[in-house]
């Protein structure tokens, strides 16, 4: 862990300016959500600025995945408001679909379309949602598959790829929509340990390119290296929000100290 703080500084420098000076892109205002009795999101206020990488960490059941899924309305919220680029999240229907096209999503379980080839997985959105010409979409997709290092697998089905490769394809599929922000919902939690880094490397590269990202993860190394801000959630609340060095080295709340104490002792 000794060198990771140094890398963190480098990542900031690469960005050229502090990310939080960007304009607000995703704004959650007093968001509440219940699952039955469970108050899973409690009065959440969070602003993600353009170009910012926000890493959300916290114990299981703290509401961090729900927070992530609420941003593109895969989970509907009870009250409060969520805006994307100044526009409130619509209810169901075409307007919501249009908004979702601007928000990339990478799932824990990859969720590649099982009956379509790798290339078709990436071109489906551009062709069917953005009405891009097939040839142009293929060119775009091959470029993205090249970028995540799986271009040679383009004609295979998802089940023929390793977990790490599938997740990199899922990132390419999200990028193909040229989204304003990408949400990562525990992208490495379903991976074998030796495949975690190949996915994190792609994510770090994205962060350096200035992509706006909300990342729910247990990978503290990634948080140190790529995050502009770490948000710590516990019991449905945002307990702490700070830059990675401050958070990891000088956590202020007892809950954060307790959580870090449990995961950083190894």
């Amino acid at each position: 862990m000794a060198d990771s703080s140094v890398t963190g500084v480098t990542a900031d420098d690469d960005r050229g300016m502090p990310a939080h000076s960007g304009e607000p892109l995703v704004v959650l205002d007093s968001v509440n959500k219940h699952f039955g009795e469970l108050h899973v999101l409690q009065d959440i206020n969070l602003t993600v600025h353009r170009g910012e990488v926000v890493v959300v960490i916290g114990p299981s059941g703290s509401g961090k995945s729900t927070l992530c899924r609420a941003i593109n309305r895969l989970e509907a919220i009870d009250d409060g408001s969520i805006t994307l680029d100044g526009q409130a999240l619509p209810e169901e229907g075409k307007a919501l679909a249009r908004l979702r096209a601007d928000v990339g999503m990478v799932f824990q379980s990859f969720n590649l379309f099982a009956h379509k080839t790798i290339l078709e997985n990436v071109t489906l959105g551009p062709i069917k949602v953005k009405k891009m010409k097939t040839a142009k979409a293929k060119e775009l997709a091959m470029g993205l598959l090249e970028r995540v290092g799986v271009a040679n697998q383009a004609d295979k089905l998802p089940a023929q790829l390793s977990g790490g490769q599938q997740q990199r394809v899922a990132i390419a599929r999200a990028l193909a929509m040229q989204p304003k922000v990408i949400l990562f919902d525990e992208p490495t939690s379903a991976l074998d340990p030796e495949m975690v880094n190949e996915v994190l490397d792609v994510m770090v590269a994205l962060a350096k390119d200035g992509m706006t990202m909300v990342v729910v993860t247990h990978e503290m190394g990634f948080a140190r290296k790529a995050a502009d801000r770490v948000v710590f959630m516990s019991d449905g609340q945002i307990v702490e929000s700070a830059d990675p060095d401050t958070f990891f080295d000088h956590p202020t709340s007892n809950r954060a100290k307790d959580f870090l104490g449990k995961i950083l002792t190894h």
Partner: protein, 224 residues
């Protein structure tokens, strides 16, 4: 034996079976289309459509087929004025197809819905996440996988439909069971051989379909 074969040659067995196959073919296609629409309604996010689909399935699935076939002949045509052809026999053939379609559509719907349940929820979430609205997500992502997972139950519905096509006899469509009854009345000495011949005929038609269904459901299974 040769005497029995001579008796058989007096009747158009193949022609009667051909009518059952035609009933099955047209009702199979129509019930697949109606069943798919019903399944879409039942999985749609719109409550009124869900309600309509559920009501159809529960109403039709729990009504005896004979009642529906007779309804077509005695209510749909003479009272409600639905006429497929001015030719009496042709009209009744299509009335039977309509009744068989309406009835089996409810089973096709439920077979397809069981296929939808084989598709992980994440597939629909991923489709929504790239900005596909409900219908394109269903058409491009959910249904192609659901059909593959529903081949076996849909095949069962098809097999039931082949045999249920004999219910068209209730409205005098001259298919195989009508012919069997006629043969038995005329050839009293051969009742059992006639019965066995007709039964074996169905086995010959249905067994290959059962084998094809098993083969296809394995061949087309979505690997995950």
């Amino acid at each position: 034996m040769s005497e029995f074969l001579a008796v058989l040659s007096n009747y158009d067995l193949v022609g009667a079976y051909w009518l059952n196959i035609q009933l099955t073919f047209f009702a199979g296609l129509a019930s697949l289309v109606i069943g798919t629409i019903l399944a879409l309604m039942r999985i749609s996010p719109i409550p009124s459509l869900q309600f309509a689909g559920t009501t159809y399935v529960n109403l039709i699935r729990n009504t005896p087929l004979t009642i529906i076939v007779v309804f077509a002949a005695l209510v749909l045509w003479p009272v409600l004025g639905v006429e497929f052809s001015t030719d009496f026999a042709t009209n009744f053939f299509w009335l039977a197809v309509a009744a068989l379609s309406v009835y089996h559509a409810s089973f096709m719907c439920e077979a397809l819905r069981s296929g939808v349940n084989t598709v992980p929820a994440g597939q629909a979430e991923a489709a929504r996440a790239i900005g596909l609205p409900f219908l394109p997500a269903a058409r491009l992502v959910i249904l192609p996988q659901a059909f593959r997972g529903a081949i076996a139950p849909m095949g069962n519905t098809l097999i039931a439909l082949i045999k249920n096509s004999t219910v068209a006899a209730a409205i005098s469509v001259p298919e195989i069971s009508i012919l069997m009854k006629e043969m038995m009345e005329n050839e009293g000495n051969y009742v059992i051989p006639i019965f066995l011949t007709v039964a074996v005929g169905f086995v010959i038609i249905v067994v290959p379909i059962g084998l094809a269904v098993t083969y296809l459901s394995q061949r087309l299974a979505v690997s995950r």
